[in-house]
């Protein structure tokens, strides 16, 4: 894994791969993607009649394919796409396809910091997961909700392990779904299983399940909580002690339960997407304390700020002391940090990014069709026709901004390293 | 006889009025509280503008497609309801009575007009009764209580006109008039007659959702 320290943090602007030029050489090109370090820009292009490939920094892959889709960059900056030849599919990384081909592949997953690539695959209507070209030993009748562990080595998914005839509602209600971890299915079957979560060490899995049409609860490593609730949302593991929490519906609204005991006192109209601070000492969630009024709740205390449409993309600072999120009111998006709403109304915004020490927050935003980066509430002044998530340098003094310049400035893709103090002050 | 008269014209009037006002207010308040607890969202969507827009379309004769489709019913229902409410309030005898007892008064109807209106109410009741017997769907929907209610509503009007014109047995009719009038008031909050009080809310809510959310007409 390449560390952030080794990226190019020299202040200034650097053009990459003459994007403006190669963009016109292909008759057909899809939207570009950029590696996290900003050193590579890539897009799916048509190389010749009915043959597609990926162009990276102006150079196409050597191989072409019948189809290419879902181009992304791995955390270690390799372009990866799902490719097809003669109606079979596989993964191609840096232009090289895996050995094994399948009837379909999708759901490319990788951990935030690891190089492993995982996909869902189907062959002869049997479903399984493939990590780094190695398929699971077991196959299933269906497979959804694929996730990978934080180190990218383990994968889990909701699988159907029992078939039932069409429209057999009785059999369905006996429970035909379960969770498979690295190909091994839990023995217990449920009426439904939905979102999953891996523990930090990748050794445990929790699932949101329904044991009848009416009884919702959480199962951890195949063991079901005894209590049932009228509804639950996705569970999360505590980063240190591996206990499991989940929003659960109780008579007074929604609350939070840990290992099936209710731990918050207030009832919310809605409570979901809860998250732990990195050391596990705080829990925050998106909530609606009243109907139609959205905010962030931390440790059962709601922010004063309210949004009347939606709150999304909440994130903790690395030290766990700050929270940032996006909120939408009256058709405009806003960025909010620690209960304060930045005074810029946006057409769209992306998940805010904290500097490593938590002292600065940056977010990508779109307004009137052009993109910019906002740092601590102030736009950087440069606008782009496309942009990607900014990244702070490890010491927090600089920020990497990646974007395509407007046509009148040359339409080129460049990576800019800015001094945070200079932009933010 | 005299005791009953005293009762009916004294304490029972108060009882009826208190039950009517208290019962109506009580039920409405209770429903508002239940709504807060169980259907809180209806408060979010209630819009006075759209509620009023809808209510107006439904209290203006032939203001809705439904009313235009049933002209006879609409005509009778409007005449019936107007007379039903106006007659007792603006009847000369009532106004004078109230002026004598409480010292407040207001304009009243010429007696001939009141007579006609009373007869219209009674005819309205007969029309509704006939509908309940003749029209297949209405007959199916009718409960025994619906017939009793018609009787309860017709009674004060029949006995009222009877008493006023001093037809034979009018003394008894007079007592029955007071008692049945009081009975009707007492029944109001607790029977289907309560539709009177619910109308602004159910119609208003329908209008709010239709106008404010669904952007469509509901008449």
């Amino acid at each position: 894994m390449q560390q952030r320290e080794s990226w190019d943090w020299t202040a200034g602007t650097r053009e990459i791969g003459d994007f403006g030029a190669w963009r016109t050489t292909y008759g057909y090109m899809e939207e570009p993607h950029v590696s996290e370090d900003g050193e590579k820009i890539a897009a799916i292009v048509r190389a010749e009649e009915e043959a597609y490939t990926v162009c990276v920094n102006g150079r196409p892959w050597e191989n072409t394919f019948d189809k290419v889709w879902y181009l992304r960059f791995t955390p270690d900056h390799r372009p990866v796409a799902l490719v097809s030849d003669t109606a079979m599919w596989t993964v191609a990384i840096d232009g090289t396809s895996w050995q094994n081909w399948y009837e379909f592949v999708w759901n490319t997953r990788f951990a935030n910091t690891a190089s492993h690539v995982t996909i869902a695959a189907q062959k002869e209507l049997r479903y399984f997961v493939v990590t780094d070209d190695t398929p699971w030993q077991n196959e299933f009748f269906s497979l959804n909700h694929l996730i990978v562990s934080p180190d990218g080595r383990n994968a889990a998914a909701v699988v159907q392990n029992t078939t039932f005839p069409e429209a057999d509602i009785g059999k369905f209600q006996e429970g035909c779904f379960t969770v498979a971890v690295n190909g091994e299915a839990w023995p217990e079957q449920y009426v439904n299983a939905w979102e999953l979560d891996f523990s930090g060490d990748g050794r445990h899995v929790a699932a949101e399940i329904r044991t009848s049409l009416y009884d919702y609860t959480i199962a951890v490593d195949g063991k079901t909580w005894k209590k049932r609730f009228p509804c639950v949302w996705a569970p999360r593991f505590h980063p240190a002690d591996n206990s499991v929490t989940a929003p659960v519906k109780i008579p007074g609204g929604w609350s939070l339960a840990r290992n099936e005991e209710i731990i918050w006192n207030r009832g919310y109209k809605q409570l979901w997407h809860h998250m732990y601070s990195p050391d596990g000492s705080h829990i925050a969630a998106v909530a609606a304390p009243e109907f139609g009024k959205w905010t962030i709740v931390e440790d059962d205390r709601a922010w004063q700020a309210r949004f009347n449409e939606v709150v999304t993309d909440a994130v903790y600072s690395p030290d766990g002391n700050r929270i940032a999120c996006l909120g939408k009111s009256n058709e405009k998006w806003y960025i909010a940090v620690d209960d304060r709403i930045w005074d810029v109304a946006l057409d769209m915004a992306w998940q805010p990014v904290f500097s490593p020490d938590g002292s600065h927050v940056a977010a990508m935003a779109e307004k009137n069709g052009s993109y910019t980066i906002i740092i601590d509430g102030k736009p950087i002044g440069q606008e782009f026709t496309a942009a990607w998530q900014p990244v702070f340098s490890p010491d927090g003094t600089r920020i990497l901004v990646k974007g395509v310049l407007p046509e009148d400035q040359g339409g080129k893709y460049c990576r800019q390293v800015l001094e945070v103090e200079r932009v933010a002050s | 006889m005299h005791e009953i008269y005293q009762l009916a014209s004294g304490i029972l009037v108060w009882v009826a009025l208190i039950v009517f006002v208290g019962g109506t207010a009580g039920r409405l308040i209770r429903m508002a509280i239940t709504a807060r607890k169980k259907d809180a969202v209806i408060y979010q969507y209630f819009s006075f503008y759209y509620a009023l827009r809808s209510i107006l379309h439904w209290i203006i004769p032939f203001g809705s497609m439904s009313m235009r489709a049933r002209p006879a019913m609409t005509l009778v229902a409007f005449i019936f309801h107007i007379c039903l409410i106006i007659t007792p309030i603006f009847l000369a005898a009532h106004v004078i009575l109230i002026a004598e007892s409480w010292g407040i008064g207001w304009a009243y109807l010429p007696n001939a007009v009141a007579d006609i209106m009373t007869i219209l109410v009674i005819l309205g009741c007969l029309f509704f009764l006939l509908r309940r017997i003749v029209q297949r769907d209405v007959r199916y929907l009718s409960t025994p209580g619906d017939f009793v209610l018609l009787l309860v509503v017709a009674a004060p009007f029949v006995t009222g006109i009877w008493t006023y014109h001093q037809w034979s047995g009018f003394e008894i009719a007079g007592i029955v008039h007071m008692l049945s009038g009081e009975l009707m008031l007492i029944c109001l909050p607790f029977t289907r007659l309560f539709h009177m009080a619910l109308f602004p809310f159910t119609r208003g809510y329908a209008g709010s959702e239709a106008g404010g959310v669904r952007r469509a007409r509901d008449w």
Partner: protein
């Protein structure tokens, strides 16, 4: 009343066998019905239920509003208030002390004799929402496990796959790519942009589109291309905006389905959701599911295909090459007309694209339901004949338009299509049925 016994007898004769209802009812005991119902009354039986049941003056003004009543020789059991009388009034007044047979009948009424079309609501002086009451009965049926088999199976599909038709995640993506391939024979650079983050429009459809009517996705792709729209569809679950759980009374699943749909659009950072030509899906997203989740209005703007067409035509982005010259008529779908007032918008589009337009009578907010909506068609084969017979007025209404010259019926809703198709065939009306998108696709300038 005496006469009601005759109707009851007639009902016994016609009893339809449905495995979901029968098997479910076998597991019921009077105690279970009572406890489940009373619990439901405690938690969800609120002021609306009370007001609607108490305000009704049994006047029958709603009867003529209902196509079931009109089509079944004005049998009063089919009048809106008649259905209320046979179901919720009875259970409430008996405080839940009803037996399994009663629940079977109540289930059949609530699921197959009411389309939740809300036409009666605009004929009742009090605005009583009979659809709300029938949904309350359905909610009770769901909690008691007495639900028609086919619609319950659909609800299971929603729960297991987050779509209506048991479409697997790979099948969905594969279908999009297949349609893109097909369309590229016609327009070489056309694209169905999958997972395009930051696109303006998130386009969502209902489960049956990839399953049975994939050409609709093709056509929409062509329309998007011609209008130069920046759009996307997700490769994840949440692509399906439909919702039969809303109609089986499984509110928890409805909420879950709408959450996943909105979150797919939010995750892709799109600004608006455009929904395909479906009515019930629109209702579930616009004012049912969002409310269950705590959203007063949808968290991001969402519009029906009709509004979208109208917008791109009005802005001059979509050009009509040649108008559709066969006489058309238009069926106003309940869920986007009484449900969202799109009647004039639809007429604007039709007049832009078609030469001759003939109105159905009645029309706009007063149009009769197709008979398929409200999950009725989803109750499947056992109830098909009953459904078609229960909408004879629709056939009469269409026949009248045909007499005036109409050859094509436009219905911008999947359920309406299903319902009208059966009616047109059964009553041998000889009318052609189209989506608005079918006509647009035929008539627009494609490059």
């Amino acid at each position: 009343m005496k006469t009601s016994e005759d109707f009851q007898a007639a009902a016994e004769e016609k009893r339809i066998y449905d495995a979901g209802i029968e098997e479910g009812a076998k597991k019921l005991t009077p105690e279970k019905i009572r406890s489940v119902f009373n619990e439901l009354m405690q938690t969800e039986g609120g002021a609306r239920l009370e007001a609607y049941t108490k305000a009704c003056v049994h006047c029958g003004l709603c009867s003529d509003a209902c196509h079931h009543y009109l089509s079944n020789d004005r049998d009063p059991r089919f009048s809106p208030a008649g259905k209320v009388k046979q179901t919720i009034i009875e259970i409430v007044s008996r405080k839940g002390k009803v037996d399994a047979d009663f629940m079977k009948r109540a289930c059949e009424i609530a699921f197959t004799e009411c389309n939740l079309c809300r036409r009666c609501m605009i004929y009742c002086p009090f605005g009583i929402d009979v659809a709300y009451l029938m949904l309350f009965v359905r909610r009770a049926c769901h909690q008691l496990g007495v639900v028609p088999q086919y619609i319950q199976d659909t609800a299971h599909s929603h729960a297991a796959t987050y779509n209506q038709m048991w479409v697997r995640d790979d099948e969905w993506i594969d279908t999009l790519q297949w349609q893109e391939d097909e369309a590229r024979d016609e327009i070489p650079d056309l694209r169905i942009p999958i997972e395009k983050e930051g696109a303006d429009i998130f386009y969502s459809v209902i489960g049956p589109e990839p399953k049975f009517r994939a050409q609709l996705i093709y056509q929409m792709a062509v329309i998007m291309h011609a209008a130069g729209v920046d759009w996307t569809m997700p490769a994840s679950q949440g692509w399906d905006n439909s919702d039969m759980c809303m109609y089986t009374g499984d509110s928890e699943m409805t909420a879950r389905l709408k959450k996943i749909h909105f979150e797919a659009a939010l995750r892709l950072k799109t600004k608006r959701i455009v929904m395909g030509e479906c009515g019930h899906a629109f209702r579930s997203v616009y004012d049912v599911g969002n409310r269950l989740l705590g959203w007063k209005m949808p968290p991001l703007q969402m519009i029906h295909a009709i509004s979208f067409y109208s917008e791109i035509i009005e802005q001059g982005r979509l050009k009509i090459a040649e108008k559709f010259d066969r006489p058309v008529t238009f069926h106003d779908p309940c869920n986007i007309v009484r449900g969202r007032g799109l009647h004039e918008t639809a007429r604007y589009v039709i007049n832009q694209v078609c030469t001759t337009f003939i109105e159905l009578e009645p029309n706009r907010e007063h149009n009769y339901c197709c008979g398929a909506g409200g999950g009725v068609i989803n109750c499947g084969p056992p109830f098909k004949n009953k459904r078609v017979q229960s909408n004879r007025v629709k056939a009469d209404q269409l026949a009248a338009a045909k007499k005036k010259g109409a050859e094509v019926v436009i219905a911008p809703c999947h359920n309406c299509h299903g319902g009208l198709e059966d009616i047109i065939r059964h009553y041998e009306l000889g009318l052609e049925l189209k989506f608005l998108g079918d006509i647009l696709y035929e008539c627009i300038q494609k490059e």
